[in-house]
Amino acid sequence: MININHIDKLARLGLTEKEKRKFKKELSAILDFVEKLKQVKTDKVKLTAQVTGLENVSRIDKGQAKSKQERKKLLNLVPHTKDGYVKVKAIL
């Protein structure tokens, strides 16, 4: 059975009690539906995470300096800034 309080906490969704009841019911219906997979034998099957077979694609490990203009564009999207930094609430 799904522990909705635990999932809400992990997913940082801030659900109300009413929403928790609603979602718990809906999620149970979906989980019942996907339960079907248990019928499939997969002991010797390898998993697929990437369908075209690419492996270990990497780029050169080098930072790229942003132009002043690019910096400005990105910082304009930030809700709270101070002296060109992203401002957040105190963590500790």
């Binding site: 997913a11 801030g14 979602f23 979906i30 539906f33 499939v40 690419l54 999207l77």
Partner: protein, 474 residues
């Protein structure tokens, strides 16, 4: 002449022959939007100024006798989950309601270089999660064939805009059927390319191992034109790739074509009227000389379950970035946790929260092996089913969706019923295969699509096969 009704090919021809200008073509499209879109609601944002300035540039080039490509001067509608620099990109979500894209997606960069005219951004289910466009935080799009019905989803705005002649072609994204199903419901052509064939850089991420961008067009010929312009490996998307070196032979003779019908796709659950029309379309190919045979994809019944584990799992990870700190909606609170909770509580709609929770659950300690790993193993079996079928046949043909466009509100409260409308499309995303939806008839006034599925990198081939149908059918 209604310029906005032209195909890419026709419009491009007209521009080259100076029968009309790019500005005239763009204005015809914008006028149609003004006339029709208050009923359809296909567009979330119009980029009229950008469009007209791009059109003027193309007209200048034509006047100067510069060589222009097939897409130069042609108006395109872009699904509002693909970034266009300086233009708002909402992903259909309140959390990005005021987000201004800071850069162009790779495909937008390519299309701009081809001289494309971007007329606006189209409506979608929030973060592309849905099959009807009803999950948009900004209200549903209506089907141009029947305003009481959905256009399909999640690229419903793009398909509806095209069907209503509010653009010459459109761009969509497809994670489990989101290009093909709305194309089917709206009577237009939709191509989901091979996974990785088109760069996803600048596409807002939903489920990264499944997402793919593709064209929605009036004809298969147009789909090829757009695909040529947007495909190819991109340094900015590590999953993108060019077709392998072995020579890709897209040449074929219809007389030698072997078409497979997956027996598991023509079973109960499909509307008999839909089945009849799809089978009739397939018999057209038979008349042209193709061989049609039954094949089996034994793990078909597990595909939707595997998809509804893998896709929400990836979504829950991708959507963790919306925290109210770097961009998008940010709610006030006393502490950092409060900012996260308030922002996500107010920013996300129901379907998005449902999928985040589902994904969080199936990835959580104690359940990861049973759900996520299990689903990825089943994914392997589904892919192997297709490999085996393709030993016997060249392509597969199936319906796109078991029904025609359903009524607004009909499935919105029943997640599983809504998910079932993607039963014929999700397997292809799990296997990374290309497939195209083409209009093949109507039940009453509602269009139906035929789905043609190829092996990985057979994109060109399935487009050509689709074209054969367009050319020969009346």
């Amino acid at each position: 002449m209604n310029l906005n009704k032209l195909t890419i090919k026709q419009a491009s021809h007209g521009l080259a022959k100076k029968e009309f200008s790019a500005v005239e073509l763009t204005e015809a499209t914008l006028n149609q939007i003004k006339k029709r879109d208050k009923d359809i609601y296909a567009y979330l944002t119009l980029t009229e100024e950008l469009a007209l300035s791009q059109a003027k540039r193309i007209d200048k080039k034509i006047a100067n006798k510069e060589k222009i490509g097939l897409l130069a001067g042609i108006p395109v509608a872009v699904k509002d989950i693909i970034l266009v620099e300086g233009v708002r990109c909402t992903a259909g979500s309140k959390i990005l309601e005021n987000y201004i894209a800071p850069y162009d997606a790779t495909i937008i960069k390519k299309l701009k270089q081809s001289g494309a005219i971007i007329v606006g951004k189209t409506n979608l289910d929030e973060f592309a999660m849905g099959s009807s466009t009803e999950n948009s935080a900004f209200g549903p799009t209506k089907n141009p064939y029947d305003l009481e019905r959905v256009p399909g989803g999640s690229s419903g705005g793009s398909a509806a805009a095209l069907a209503a002649d509010e653009c010459i072609y459109a761009l969509g994204s497809d994670t489990g059927g989101s290009i093909r199903q709305p194309a089917s419901f709206c009577g237009v052509v939709g191509l989901k390319p091979t996974y990785g064939a088109v760069s996803r850089y600048g596409l807002i991420a939903f489920a990264s191992s499944l997402d793919q961008i593709g064209p929605i067009t009036k004809t298969a010929e147009d789909a090829q034109i757009v695909f040529d312009a947007i495909k190819g490996k991109d340094e900015m998307d590590s999953t993108s790739l060019n077709p392998p070196d072995k020579i890709q032979n897209s040449k074929f003779k219809i007389q030698n074509l072997r078409i497979g019908l997956p027996e598991e796709y023509f079973v109960k659950g499909i509307d008999p009227a839909v089945e009849k029309i799809v089978k009739k379309a397939i018999s057209q190919y038979e008349k042209m000389g193709a061989k049609v045979m039954e094949v089996s994809l034994p793990h078909t019944e597990y595909a939707l379950s595997a998809y509804y584990i893998i896709q929400p799992a990836e979504a829950s990870a991708n959507l963790a970035r919306y925290d109210g700190i770097k961009y998008g909606l940010s709610e006030e609170a006393n502490d950092l946790l409060g900012v996260y909770l308030q922002t996500r509580q107010h920013g996300f709609g129901n379907e998005v929260r449902r999928r985040i929770m589902l994904g969080t659950y199936t990835l959580s300690a104690g359940y990861y092996e049973d759900y996520y790993i299990k689903a990825q193993k089943v994914r392997t079996l589904i892919k192997e089913d297709f490999n085996k079928a393709f030993e016997k046949v060249d392509v597969l043909m199936t319906p796109v969706s078991p029904t025609t466009a359903f009524k607004l509100g009909e499935k919105i409260d029943d997640s599983v019923a809504m998910y079932l409308s993607d039963i014929y499309t999700v397997s292809l995303n799990l296997a990374g295969l290309p497939s195209i939806s083409i209009p093949c008839g109507k039940v009453g006034k509602l269009p139906i699509g035929l789905q043609i599925i190829g092996q990985q990198f057979d994109d060109e081939k399935i487009i050509k096969i689709a074209q054969e149908y367009e050319d020969r059918s009346i």
